[in-house]
């Protein structure tokens, strides 16, 4: 599948710059920016005016700097495990004959674009960090990873999994581990680790929905659907709408994800089941996005993004603490009805 970025902004000035103008511009600029914003953005503006959630943008930066652009570099490990490997495509370079190179390049661009246009974020660190990715790492390596500095993709085992560059949501998932690293810093263990995993699934899915221009109702809410091969008995690695139903495979067993706290899995493996129990907050997000309707990144995504940046969400935050942060974010940005929707979702999955 080929993903082309949607055209989300009707206005040539992205919302985050308008928000910055409201915050830091002259009276004239501020009036113009407020008039230009849509109703939805105006609701968000109430938050911008009253809340300290986002760091102020220096006025000089507004006028002097153009819209942030990704700075991508793709490397090829050629089946070895030495990083970064040979440079094969730089920003603006021609497409490669190698599909994995182009998938990585496009996926990094889609992720950068989603964070920039939907959330006003400038790359992983919100400071323009260049994006680097290595493809063809190792032999039959069935994984993708953010190693703290760059992305690494394997080719899969060729039986169950193909190249891990094939799923845009997996690329978004991995880069979101970088975002979480720079924001809440959720410790990768037990509930905070499952929350870290869930944040990556939520924004990974949002990146895909954003690139395809899908609404919450149109989204498949699957993670890794495009990288599983016919030998894999299932539709994807995880289902956010119906955790525990993504696969039932003779080799891998059945999808172990719970959908509610009642079925929370206590285990020593997988850092305390971080890829298992993430099903619970995943489903909460899917319920919120579906109930609020429209494009998931607009309201549900904003609520989750603001919660991730909430000062009270830190390395040891558990499900209930994050749920409270989403309630505060929903109330602040969208008011009582949205807050009630968020509370209902967390109650459905047994967290509140």
């Amino acid at each position: 599948m080929s993903y082309r970025p949607a055209q989300p902004a009707q206005c040539i000035i992205p919302p985050y710059l308008l928000e910055a103008l409201v915050r830091n511009g002259t009276a004239e600029q501020r009036d113009w920016a407020l008039r230009t914003l849509s109703l939805d953005a105006s609701l968000r503006m109430a938050r911008v005016l009253s809340g300290p959630a986002r760091p102020p943008v220096a006025p000089g930066r507004l006028t002097a700097q153009p819209r942030p652009q990704p700075q991508r570099t793709i490397f090829d490990a050629q089946g070895n495990e030495t990083l970064p490997g040979r440079e094969v495509r730089a920003e603006g370079g021609s497409p490669s004959a190698d599909v994995a190179v182009n998938e990585a390049y496009d996926g990094l661009g889609d992720t950068f674009g989603c964070y920039r246009d939907a959330f006003g974020r400038d790359s992983i660190d919100d400071a323009g960090m260049p994006l680097r990715a290595t493809v063809h790492f190792g032999q039959a390596w069935d994984n993708a990873q953010w190693n703290g500095e760059a992305m690494v993709f394997g080719d899969g085992d060729g039986t169950l999994f193909g190249s891990f560059t094939a799923s845009i949501d997996v690329i978004g998932h991995e880069l979101t581990h970088g975002v979480t690293q720079y924001e809440a810093g959720l410790a990768y263990l037990d509930q905070s680790g499952a929350l870290n995993e869930s944040i990556s699934d939520c924004f990974g899915s949002l990146v895909k929905q954003f690139a395809l221009g899908q609404t919450a109702a149109q989204a498949d809410w699957l993670i890794g659907a495009d990288l599983v091969l016919p030998g894999f008995h299932g539709s994807a690695l995880r289902s956010m709408s119906a955790p525990g139903t993504a696969y039932d495979d003779p080799v891998l067993g059945k999808d172990p994800q719970p959908a509610t706290m009642r079925d929370y899995v206590s285990t020593a493996q997988d850092n305390g089941g971080v890829h298992i129990n993430s099903g619970i907050p995943n489903r909460a997000f899917c319920l919120v996005a579906t109930a609020l309707g429209g494009h998931s990144w607009e309201q549900a995504g904003t609520i989750w993004y603001d919660a991730l940046r909430d000062a009270r969400v830190g390395p040891n935050t558990r499900f209930a603490g994050f749920a409270q942060a989403t309630l505060r974010a929903a109330q602040h940005a969208y008011g009582d009805a949205a807050s009630a929707t968020v509370r209902s979702a967390w109650t459905d999955v047994g967290v509140l």
Binding site: E81, H177, G224, L252
Partner: protein, 117 residues
């Protein structure tokens, strides 16, 4: 020798896929040369520093892992009874635990993948 391994199993969890994979080898299925190689690999992988990824083995509170790194559990069954060695997270892209990696390569070559129960 009575402490020689009978069966060696490595379970891998984690990774972005979050699926478990299991590889196992029966010593009786190996040639004498392969058995000797397996004994060497197991001894190296059981060496405490290798098995725990530099941390003290069997520490009560595990430390947070690296996102989407693989974690490995190695189980060595012997005539004298079962013994289990739990490894810490292995960051393939940053700090591979060579001894465990070499043992896993051996199991992939000479052993069989098992279904996850």
């Amino acid at each position: 020798m009575s402490s020689d391994p009978l069966r060696v199993t490595i379970t891998r969890s984690g990774g972005v896929a979050g699926v478990r994979r299991v590889w196992s080898v029966e010593v009786r299925s190996l040639s004498a040369e392969q058995s000797a190689e397996l004994r060497r690999l197991v001894a190296a992988a059981e060496e405490p520093r290798a098995a725990a990824g530099g941390a003290p083995p069997n520490s009560s509170r595990p430390s947070p892992g690296v996102p989407d790194a693989f974690s490995y559990t190695m189980e060595v069954e012997r005539r004298t009874g079962h013994r289990r060695t739990v490894t810490g997270p292995v960051t393939d892209t940053a700090a591979p635990i060579e001894a465990v990696r070499r043992l896993l390569d051996f199991l992939r070559t000479y052993g069989t993948p098992k279904a996850v129960g």
